[in-house]
Point group: C2
Chain length 288, copies 2
């Protein structure tokens, strides 16, 4: 069920992104298309499944699904830059600044962020402008200096810090860096339907943290070929991670508990939410 849903999500979102980026031409547009390809499309899946639970059609929800993937792609392009994580590969392909150059990577990331807000504000995404303005406002809060960018800055600061981060600090860091956008994705469905966001917010918060713990586990146990990027970087850099702070077994247990918590939060939706439950389990069982 999840495999099929991820495949359908990927096709739908890629078609939409290609269409939207296709309005533009030039090198930056090419780099935007390149950077927006691939990936598991987990965030888009959360958007589309959450929308389905609330009777919102994929034709409407795909605008938000594509927006969150564009925003995610922007964050990866900038994160990979030499002055940030300095990564040469992403999803098994050269990173944008390796394929083109740094200026193109900066500009393509910039324009992918802009595109995310352009898609959210598009009247085709929802007939009610109040809903569209809400989505813009909530995504901006999740992505900006109080959300994702703040988390990234804390992450960079942690690398040169003398004292490793505590568990509370790393939890706060990850809540910003990856958690805020995952929770936003899970909440889009109820926002589009103007319904109660509480169950999907609890689900999103739990899998966001589980996702990051699983990432730290994969950095220790994972295989570079399957991941399509370097592994063991955090351990080599002496960075505090959930694994270094909790130990490998306790980190795995904590992630599993969070997945149970996430699944329990979906009770109100009955078995219609089984795909989201599978997604939660996948988050901690994936090998890449």
């Amino acid at each position: 069920m999840l495999d099929q849903a991820l495949k359908e999500t990927a096709d739908r979102v890629q078609t939409h992104l290609d269409l939207c980026i296709g309005q533009y031409d030039g090198t930056v547009a090419q780099a935007m298309t390149y950077a927006s390809r691939g990936g598991k499309r987990m965030r888009a899946l959360l958007v589309l499944e959450g929308a389905a639970l609330h009777g919102v059609t994929p034709d409407q929800a795909v605008w938000s699904a594509a927006a969150i993937e564009a925003l995610h792609a922007y964050s990866l392009v900038h994160d990979d830059l030499p002055c940030m994580d300095d990564d040469d590969e992403r999803r098994g392909m050269p990173t944008v600044h390796r394929q083109w150059d740094e200026a193109t990577a900066v500009l393509a990331g910039d324009a992918l962020q802009t595109l995310a807000f352009e898609m959210l504000a598009d009247p085709r995404g929802h007939p009610d402008a109040a809903v569209r303005a809400d989505l813009v406002l909530s995504l901006a809060r999740a992505a900006g200096a109080g959300g994702m960018v703040h988390g990234q800055a804390l992450d960079i600061a942690a690398e040169s810090a003398d004292v490793p981060l505590t568990l509370d600090q790393i939890t706060a860091l990850q809540a910003g860096k990856t958690g805020a956008l995952i929770t936003w994705s899970a909440c889009v469905g109820p926002v589009l339907a103007q319904a109660d966001q509480a169950p999907l917010r609890a689900y999103g918060d739990a899998i966001g943290l589980a996702f990051q713990i699983a990432d730290d586990v994969l950095d220790v146990t994972g295989d570079a070929a399957a991941m399509g990027k370097a592994v063991g970087k955090d351990a080599a850099a002496g960075k505090a991670t959930f694994v270094s702070l909790l130990g490998l077994d306790a980190a795995k247990r904590r992630a599993a508990d969070l997945v149970t918590e996430a699944c329990d939060a979906l009770t109100v939706y009955g078995d219609r939410a089984d795909c989201l439950r599978q997604a939660a389990r996948f988050v901690i069982s994936r090998d890449s």
Copy 2:
């Protein structure tokens, strides 16, 4: 009249930006505040004056005025990066990547862009969500891969091109790089008032182009101390500019004609638009 309006605009916009960035803490927020200080606030003036012509209060319009200045600041921070224009000074101060480092400059620019959309979507900026969604959509179109970023990419490509740009190409480049955001600023007032945008759009298009021609003139005739940045860079780099294509005198005449055109477009507003007429003249008479 213009001096007073620029001073009031600067105070109002800075207070608003400080308040909005003040929600956040950490190095990135500090760099955002630093990057958003200074400047002539011409774009914010266009917003506030255009709003006043349509009976929109400064308390509402300041949200859009601060948004366009945040977006402008983001573009300058990224434009100054070593992989782009590689500038050490901006507005007479060290650029963000010189004051901090490149990672901070990338992130502060990213978060300033996000903040621009956050401010536009804020319900305090306008009670009608359709207006707010419109502002987000139109700014995204002016700023992204079909607008400002596209212009910046063309500008970078021109530096390594074998053949200098033609007048048509450089006009298209500048329409994207600086023109789209200037026109957007001029149109905000009628958008907020849900009134006819045509006169202020014509005004904005004309002064946007005049502004860029004047910039090219200043790059030849200007004084580095007054400008707070290096001059003569374009000529030294052998780049085509309005001055190299038209000659200095014809470039100055073209800019003056555009200012006349801009002032004429405001006839419908009578003498209430005199401040905007002064702003148009200032665009080509400034020394920095």
